[in-house]
């Protein structure tokens, strides 16, 4: 049963991701991207990482997708569905893409992935919180500095207009 759900969700996410690139209108690409994000969030739930799933929805769909849509609106390219979608180098691109795909499949089949037999603890979020201020406190604080740096940088760039 889990396999079936996994296959369905993966197909959903993959086709949404393909449509992001294949869609003619930029806004529709953004919407397909949102669907891909939703698919990934559902995959997280399948992995019993519920906090991560909702954080994913909250940040990616709730903030980053909206940022992307606003950025699309800032540029004028939204309403032009007549541009050609393929340029001359598409044969080369497909070749490299296939090569990359084969390479990744070979690598993934060879790695001995650690299989987790231990069940996810019920208080996983508490453990995560304890780790934030315990073992991983330096990345935690650096994250805040990084966020403020991003904020300041974006304001500096945006104020120049």
């Amino acid at each position: 049963m889990q396999q079936v759900i996994f296959i369905v969700l993966s197909l959903l996410t993959l086709s949404a991701a393909v449509m992001v690139v294949a869609s003619r209108s930029l806004f529709r690409s953004a919407l397909w991207l949102i669907l891909a994000f939703a698919g990934i969030a559902m995959l997280f739930i399948l992995l019993q990482a519920e906090f991560l799933a909702f954080v994913h929805i909250l940040i990616y769909i709730g903030a980053i997708a909206i940022l992307i849509i606003f950025a699309i609106m800032l540029s004028r390219g939204v309403m032009d569905p007549n541009e050609p979608r393929f340029n001359d180098q598409w044969r080369l691109v497909i070749g490299f893409g296939a090569l990359l795909f084969v390479g990744l499949v070979v690598i993934m089949l060879r790695i001995p992935w650690p299989v987790n037999i231990v069940a996810v603890p019920a208080d996983a979020i508490q453990l995560l919180g304890a780790d934030f201020v315990g073992t991983y406190v330096i990345p935690f604080e650096v994250a805040s500095v990084l966020l403020v740096a991003a904020l300041i940088g974006a304001i500096v760039i945006a104020r120049e207009h």
């Binding site: 019993q48 519920e50 940040i59 606003f70 995560l128 935690f140 966020l147 403020v148 904020l151 304001i155």
Partner: protein, 117 residues
């Protein structure tokens, strides 16, 4: 826990199905007589002037950006909040530092008038 999410999955499908069923029902019932005047874009009752594309204010983008930063901050605060009861004093100190750094960012945005409309 998986059973709860199975319910949410079913609920999602039902919640999407309800408006669809309603709209199909309405489509069956209502009249369909499109004509030019009705299909024209609404602009306070007058003819439309110019393209239906507007100059997008950069301010919207700034609000979304500041929101991203504070959203990520809130996401960091949640696990800390639920684990807080069992942790020592260091948890408080570190979170105060975290929030103060972000408040500094907010203050910067405020002073640089990035928060004004």
């Amino acid at each position: 826990m998986p059973s709860q999410y199975a319910f949410i999955g079913v609920f999602l499908l039902v919640a999407l199905a309800l408006p669809i069923i309603g709209l199909v029902l309405a489509w069956l019932i209502r009249p369909k007589k499109p004509n030019f005047a009705k299909n024209a874009t609404y602009e306070c009752g007058m003819e439309t002037i110019g393209d239906s594309w507007v100059q997008f204010k950069a301010q919207y983008y700034l609000y979304a950006l500041i929101f991203v930063v504070f959203d990520v901050e809130a996401v960091f605060i949640f696990p800390w909040a639920v684990a807080y009861g069992k942790l020592g004093l260091y948890a408080l100190v570190e979170m105060v530092l975290f929030i103060l750094i972000l408040l500094g960012g907010l203050l910067y945005a405020w002073r640089k008038k990035a928060l004004d409309w």
